[in-house]
Amino acid sequence: MRLPVIPTPNQVVRKSSSDILPLFEFSNVVNSSLDLNFILSTVLLTVMGKMLVSKGLVMLRKEKGDFEVIAKKGLEQVSIGQRLQIERPLRTIAPVEKLMRKKMAWVDYFASLGQELIIPISSQRKVLGLIAIGSRLSQKQYTSGDKQLIQSLVNLSGAAIEKAVIIDQLKEVNRTLDHKYQELNTLFDLSKEFNIGLDVSKVVRLITFALLGQVGVHRYAICLRNGEDLQIIASKLEGEVNISTSLKALCDLRKAELIQDLLKQRKLREPAVALHQLGISALIPMHLQNQTKGLIMLGPRLRGGEYSPVDLEFLYSLGNLAIISIENARLFRDALEKQRLEDELKIAREIQQGLLPEKLPTIRGFEIAGINIPSFQVGGDYYDVIEHSESDYVVAIGDVSGKGTPAALLMAGVQAVLRTIAPLHLPLPIATGRMNDLICMNTHGGKFITFFWGNLETESRQFHYVNAGHNPPMLIRKDGSVEKLEKGGLILGIMKSIAPYEEGMCHIEPGDVLMMYTDGVSEAMNRDNVDFSEEALERVAKGARNSSAREIIATIRAALEVHTEGSPQSDDITMLVLKSV
């Protein structure tokens, strides 16, 4: 560094005009620079060089009474950036020894460093900082002339220092603004992208990139909350987060927090310790409509330093922006899923409706009526009437386990088997056994069918039947007595027939009603989850026995509606009524 030549004190005292030139040069050097460190170093070195001193330092006044070391020479124990509280800074140059007598606590610092003289740096009566220097190598005391020279040198640089301080502050403000601008840009950049992409994993990946880029971390994890369910959806931690012990307790944070602050809270200490051990430094809750929907966990910043309140605020905004998109993506996915299910149910409903007889045959001497009301989810109810001849008919009703498309497809299988076997005119028990074996071959695990079928000979009015585990149909006699048709055997589809099915037989006389139904009728529930019940069904059917088959069904339907009071139908409702006239 080029140092200006400064006249000795005696020369200054003589006020020779030629001696003032080096002072001008010094003034020019410091005033033509905007680099604060350069100016301060120059001032310090010039003073030290002029006085032949080997130790000295410069401090600048930061906020209030805080002074910070900016430059130092020959003082190894002092570090740049060190701070000192000075309550009432000096306005004039003063020896440390004199200040010690005034018992000002901060003076000890300078005394301990062997500093002898303290010179305030000021501009327009404002104290900007100070310079301290140690003893002269010549061991001579500082004369009043020396002090005057030193103070003039420092005064000459006051304006330059002030200007440079302001420029530094402006630079700092500019940088803060740039940083804010960058943060806003990040949020804008993401929100633009989030409006396009509606895929949770894509949203999470972009959030991760933004986090990594904006705050500079390697270690992170993102956890989403759905009700009470917590799920880690992205993690780059060395170890696993214990969801039940750590995260549940930390889900209710109202704002972004540093782990070190949580460690101080008695209630949260324990879960926070676990996260701390995984290297997590900050937690950012993601809020949506006042609910925590997720949590971002971040490791330390790679460029060092803790997250500042400004960082946390930004991260909180980022998290909240992300959770809106994640939630939207989730809702979108749910809607798609729902749409898919509805489409599937529509298919199931179409299959089921296609399998039911469009029109029932007219049977001489009898009335027959059927109804099927599928529930929203579509069960697997089925009924059929097959005409062998004008006096020989097969009636059947069944209920396939399960719901939706699988049940509808199984029901289609049952229909195919029934329609194949019925024309063979086999005795019902043998035919039922064959049906069971065929169905067993084609169903896998846990699927079964309750099935009732019978053979009506209209001339003899004989009705042979087999009941394979179906709700026993009610034969309501003209006089009001009721017989239940229970004979048969095991439900279809569980296992290959071992024991033969049993056959039942009855006569259906004029005025008798055979009422076949599925459990959707007897188990139709009201709002309090109370079944309609078999007893009620029997009572209603009995009361209506003198009406036509169609009217009997209508009466039962009306009774069901009264019972369920409009609560949603949980299962298919199917009835088949055969009445002898």
Partner: protein
Amino acid sequence: MSDFKIHHREGEGVNVLELKGYLDAHTAPDLENAFQQLLNEKRYRIVVNFKDLSYISSAGLGVFMAYIEDVRKNKGDIKLTNMTPKVYNVFDLLGFPILYEIYKDEKEAIGKFKDGKKQ
């Protein structure tokens, strides 16, 4: 919308990615794919040339963060070169110069890889 292109070339055992256009949340996945491809092929000496990159967002920077660890674990590096002042300012603002080696010129960065090889 925003336009972003990556050109990959290889020479002297170093992979150079030339970035062009806008690197933001929309285009970040493209860069991610490019890095992933290099890693899949076990190419860990990477120089990214920013000469024609006109804009970079935080999400773009994040991609570098997401891959640097894996690359360095395999004794490679991602060195950055030829940034315009505008792009450098973003790197600087977010404290990246202490995390990455940034060079004025691509040759210099490639040279650093070669120096490392000799040792």
